[in-house]
């Protein structure tokens, strides 16, 4: 499927503004070309099969199209897209558990159990072997996986995550601390 190459030079943020302004569905194809592989692979990380990852990807792109007007440029567009993708995938994985990421009250209440998780040196995580890291990540809950990917793979700052997940600073730090502790625990279990 061809898309207009004259838009290829546009920065993501300018392209999005143009799509929102003109509601030109074909322009969305340019955005698709830029993000399809990353989004598909991120969805695959939460899916049980390639077919499921394909369905998730298709749904994420529709969701993205409908949510584009809500992008306000407070973070990089790529960070916003990946956050939207993780949020969609986590809600999909947890759809039967009534543990939607959008439930801010529940997430804020988690701050209380901070003491239950040991502080993990970030350097220990960044020295992990990638093959073992992949297996340890697969063993984590979807929401722990999502926040670790946002922070360490997509390089979102704590402030970005606050904005993207509509959480306070302490809640973000708590969730990161908990996810790091669980990751190290899983990693150490592996041979």
């Amino acid at each position: 499927m061809e898309t207009d190459q004259s838009y290829d030079h546009l920065a993501d943020e300018d392209l999005v503004a143009e799509i929102v302004r003109s509601r030109n569905a074909l322009l969305f194809g340019v955005l698709y070309d830029r993000y399809a592989q990353r989004i598909y692979n991120k969805c695959y990380g939460f899916a049980r099969s390639e077919a499921e990852a394909q369905d998730l990807t298709q749904d994420v792109f529709l969701h993205l199209f409908l949510k584009l007007p809500s992008f306000k440029g407070r973070s990089r567009f790529s960070t916003w897209v990946y956050s939207l993708t993780y949020n969609f995938c986590v809600n999909y994985v947890n759809r039967d558990k009534h543990r939607k990421m959008a439930d801010k009250q529940v997430r804020e209440a988690e701050i209380g159990d901070e003491a239950a998780y040991p502080e993990v040196d970030e350097a220990e995580i960044l020295q992990m072997r990638s093959d073992k890291l992949a297996r340890a990540m697969a063993a984590l809950e979807a929401d722990d996986r999502a926040i670790l990917l946002l922070k360490y793979q997509d390089e979102a700052s704590v402030k970005d995550i606050q904005e993207l997940m509509d959480l306070g600073e302490s809640a973000v730090k708590m969730r990161l601390k908990r996810a790091r502790a669980k990751l190290v625990e899983q990693y150490r279990k592996l041979p």
């Binding site: 569905a25 598909y40 990807t57 298709q58 792109f61 529709l62 969701h63 409908l66 960044l126």
Partner: protein, 62 residues
């Protein structure tokens, strides 16, 4: 974090997106655009209704 980040290593062997995916996505977007333009679903819950409708339609096709 810039010297060697194992999370970045995970992205080095990416799966290829099935070529037919773009056609499917663009078909969804065209339908969404049409429905939004018609304005019949321009209530506060319009986008959510639209996503559900398209998903149900796709599942019926499968």
């Amino acid at each position: 974090m810039s010297q060697k980040n194992p999370f970045k290593e995970l992205e080095k062997s990416l799966l290829e997106v099935p070529p037919e995916m773009k056609q499917k996505v663009m078909s969804d977007i065209a339908t969404a655009r049409l429905m939004l333009d018609i304005g019949t679903l321009m209530t506060y819950s319009g986008p959510e209704s639209l996503e559900q409708t398209l998903r149900k339609r796709r599942k019926k096709k499968d």
